[in-house]
Structure formats: C-alpha cells, structure tokens
C-alpha cells in the first residue's frame, strides 16, 4: 500500500530562500504526527508546503490519488467581522466537495450538525461564531476540518492560548478522533509536553540549524535529540504512563561558561 503522502528531497521556504532542505518523509494511513520545533523553525511552512498552500522550492511531494485534507487553522485566523452562525462555518468544510455553482443541500447541513455533535458543540449551531469562547471556536474549526471526511486532518496549534481545561479538552477530543476512527492526523504545536503524550510519530524541526528528524515518539524523545533541536538540556521522565519533559537551560550558555 503506497503512503498517503510522501516528500522526497524537499526544500521549503519563501521567496526562493530555502528555510529547510533535504526533507524526506512518509505519512501512512492512521498515523498521528506531531510537528514540533522552536518558534520560527519552519513548522507551519512545512505543513503549508505539504498542503499545497505554498509551493515547494525543490523536490517532490507525492500524494495518493484523490487524497483530501481537512485543515484546522489557528482560531485567530477567522476574522470576527463575519456575521456567521457556527453551523455555517462548519458547512464551509463541505464547499470543496459540493463544487462551484451547486447549492448546499440539507444533507450537507445535517452532516455538519453531526460533526458538531461529535465535537460536543451541536447546541451552539445557531450561535454567532464570533460570540463563542476560544475553546468553542476551536471545536467549531475542528468540526469544519472533519466535515469533508478527509483522509488527513491537519491542525495548526489547536491549543494555542488556551487555559489548562481548554487545552486538555481539545487534546482529548483529538485523541478520541484518532482512536475512534483511525483518522490520520498532523498536528503542529510548540508544546513538546503536549505532543509527547499524544502523537505516535514526531517531526522535529529547526530550520535555522538545518535539522529535521522524523520517527516514532518513543525513539525521538531523548535528551540528545532534543538538545540538538532546542539547544537546551532536556530530561525526559515517565510517570503513570505519561511523559514529562524538563528543560535545564541553554547548552550554548554552558559551553560559553
């Protein structure tokens, strides 16, 4: 069975300037990838390149014929000036499937409502999107990402700026989706602790250092690899089936000292 998505010798960046080169990766059905790295490392650039939002500078991206994506952007991307009920925002996920010049059907709206129910916000369907809380907005966008029933769901910092309860709720929802239906997931996050406890596979990126590592979470989460990415001394501990990561300060500073 060929992978859903594969990149060979990929070079990513903006305006002809490469941010990261020699990227090789393969995403299979049912994978749960966490994409992590420091701020400005190139996480979003990589994902946008894989999705076709920005062009690759070099290399090849192979997508399985008919491969479809659901995309969950950071919730701040949605301009609150739009007067749209939450259900209308979710139905938008169906638009590419419906195609131009065709109306939205009752079946599309019912499907959207089903996915709102699945993420626990069916009661908010008629509420204006702009009046929802951060967590409710994020759930609405996850429902929109799911409603085209995509092969791969891509989430960009879904817990950014949330409190502990919101963060836990969203991560439980994402994990449930993966466990329940084997949804292939790609999630960008700057929170290594969060990703370490949910994602099965990791992409560790540091564009400025030219570092790109992929592998199983268990294999990649070790002090040596994390030091290479973050320039920090990081301890990885396991307790009650969960991983905890502790940073001890910059290794650069230690070297200088």
């Amino acid at each position: 069975m060929p992978p859903l998505l594969a990149a060979h010798d990929l070079s990513i960046g903006y305006g002809g300037r490469p941010l990261l080169s020699d990227i090789d990766l393969s995403i299979e059905q049912g994978d749960w990838w966490g994409v992590v790295g420091p701020n400005g490392a190139g996480k979003t650039t990589l994902i946008k390149t894989l999705l076709g939002i920005i062009p690759a500078l070099r290399g090849k991206i192979e997508r399985r014929p008919g491969l479809s994506f659901g995309y969950v952007p950071q919730r701040g991307v949605i301009d609150d000036i739009f007067p749209l009920p939450a259900l209308d925002v979710v139905v938008m996920g169906r638009y590419p499937r419906i195609g131009p010049c065709r109306p939205v059907t009752r079946a599309d709206r019912e499907l959207a409502l089903r996915y709102m129910e699945r993420v626990g916000i069916a009661h908010l369907a008629r509420k204006p999107f702009r009046s929802l809380s951060g967590g409710q907005k994020q759930r609405t966008l996850i429902a929109r990402g799911l409603v085209p029933e995509p092969d791969v769901l891509v989430l960009d910092e879904p817990t950014d700026g949330m409190d502990l309860a919101g963060e836990t709720g969203i991560m439980e929802l994402i994990s449930d989706l993966q466990r329940g239906s084997g949804q292939t997931l790609l999630m960008i996050s700057h929170s290594l602790n969060l990703v370490a406890n949910h994602a099965k596979q990791l992409m560790l990126i540091h564009g400025a250092e030219g570092v790109f590592r992929t592998g199983m979470t268990d294999e990649l989460l070790n002090g040596k690899t994390l030091e290479e990415i973050y320039h920090l001394s990081v301890d990885v501990h396991s307790f009650a089936g969960r991983r905890f990561l502790f940073a001890h300060g910059s290794t650069d500073t230690k070297e200088k000292a």
């Binding site: 903006y14 946008k48 999705l51 000036i81 739009f82 009920p85 891509v154």
Partner: protein, 286 residues
C-alpha cells in the same frame, strides 16, 4: 415643476442610481468583510485615469472631445474598464509586507492616478467639461446607452455572485483553509475583485466616483452592525443602498441639491440604527 412632472426626464438617472446602488451595496458587503475599502477607492481613481487617457490620446490624434464622448463604449468606457480590471488583478496579488505595506501600495494606487488625471484635465482644459461629465458622472441625465450598459453589468455581476456565493465567502473568510481543501482561492479572489472593478468603472460614469464609493461602503457598514446573519447583511445592505438612491434623488430635486452628495448623505442616515444598537449593547455590558 413637480417631481412627478419631471419624472420622464429624470427616469434614466433614477434607474441608473438605483441599479448602481443595488449592485454596489451588494458588493460592498465583500468590500467591508475583506477589509478592502481602499482597494475600491484606488480602483475608482485608476478607472478615472483610463477615461482621461482615452481623451488625451484622441485629442493628441486631432479628435474633438465631443466625438470621443459620442463613441463612449469603444473609447473612454473601454479604457476605464480595462484600467480598472488590470488594477484589480494587480491588487489581488499577495505582497510581502517586509519592505512596503499593502496600505502604501493602495495609497500610491490612489494618489498617482488622481494626480495624473488632474494633470490630463489641465492639459485638455478646453475640453474639460465634456471629460468631467463622464469622469464624475451626471446622475440626473443618463443616456439610454449608458443605462443599458449599467443594467447589463449589474445582471452579469449578480449572476456571477449567485453562482459562486459559497466560493467567494469561504475564500474571503479563510483563504488558507480553502486552498488546503483544494479550492482555487486565487482564482475566486481575482473573479471577485474583477466584478468589483467592473462595477466601479461602469458606475462612476453613470453617477460619479463619490456616490459609487459611498454605496460600496456605507450601506454594507450599516447592515453589518445590525445582523448576525450574512445573508441578512446582503439583503439589508441592498435595501439601504436602493432606499438611499431613491430618497437622495428625490431630496436633491425638491431642495435643488447636488444629486451625488444627497444620495451619499441619505445613505449615512442608515448608520444611525446600527450605531444606536452598538451603544445599547455597550451600555448593557457596562
């Protein structure tokens, strides 16, 4: 002479005003939602430059302004539309904002054509009256040809919007997600801007740049402060725009006021309910 007595003479002007108000107020919802108010201002100036250039070239080759005006659709009307559409395609491109901001580009796109148009008007001062008539519109007396072009433009633009409503809304709200899901975001954005450019360039020759700009901004702004449903915002905006055109036209006749500013000011009255609603909401929130 009463308004009813003058109606046979004024009817083309009234119809043109209503059609311009209808289509501009509809498109205005996108203009406000996409935060591209100054794109429409720049396009109207660039479109005016197209008209002025047609006259400049014609006069340079020895034609009189009145001849150019009589061949309106193949002359200044055409250059106006072409200039506006080219401007829309250029302005639809995403720019890196590291060295020059989008606002700067729009400011330059507004100021340079405005300056050049004034220079051309000064060069052709003997023919200025004929040119200004087209450039700034004459809301009262609109020719049958101009009215036909106006109606055909409105029908075509509204038809495109009816067919591509979903695509325009999704790509305006969240272009990145739309692209990621396989939609041709750039194409739809270009089509949307082209419909706006086409409407502006045809409409300013009917009723003038200022009222067209006003119909693109004020009714939609008023509507968006009153509703939480996008479809209602489109409907309210059109109702406000058409009402402002009709009432403004009537008031301008009764009180001998300039028609464009009368329509613009009437449109401004529709901002009051939304403003009051916002004040009440803030007062309730403390």
């Amino acid at each position: 002479m009463t308004f009813l007595d003058a109606l046979p003479i004024l009817q083309n002007g009234i119809l043109a005003g209503v059609v311009v108000a209808l289509v501009s107020a509809f498109l205005g919802v996108y203009v406000i939602l996409k935060r591209i108010v100054f794109v429409s201002a720049a396009i109207s100036q660039i479109s005016s430059l197209g008209v002025a250039c047609a006259f400049l070239v014609a006069v340079f080759f020895g034609h009189h302004a009145s001849e150019v005006k009589s061949q309106f659709l193949s002359g200044p009307g055409l250059t106006s539309v072409v200039f506006a559409c080219v401007a829309a395609i250029i302005l639809a491109r995403q720019v890196s904002e590291k060295r020059i901001t989008r606002e700067s580009i729009l400011g330059i796109g507004y100021l340079l054509p405005a300056g050049l148009t004034l220079l051309i008007l000064d060069l052709l001062s003997a023919e200025a009256h004929a040119i200004e008539d087209i450039l700034f519109g004459n809301s009262v007396f609109v020719s049958v040809d101009q009215l036909r072009v106006q109606v055909a433009t409105a029908v075509a633009v509204l038809l495109i919007h009816l067919l591509l409503y979903k695509e325009f809304i999704f790509t305006s709200l969240d272009p990145e997600t739309a692209t990621a899901c396989g939609m041709r975001t750039q194409l739809f954005n270009r089509i949307l801007l082209l419909t706006i450019a086409f409407t502006i360039s045809v409409s300013i020759m009917s009723i003038g740049a200022l009222p067209v700009f006003a119909f693109m901004v004020i009714p939609a702004s008023a509507a968006l402060t009153l509703t939480e449903r996008l479809r209602n915002a489109f409907l309210l905006s059109v109702v406000f725009g058409v009402s402002a055109a009709l009432v403004g036209f009537y008031l301008s006749f009764v009180f001998s006021l300039p028609t464009g500013p009368a329509m613009l000011t009437t449109a401004g009255l529709f901002l009051i309910p939304g403003g009051l609603r916002t004040l009440v909401q803030r007062w309730r929130l403390g």
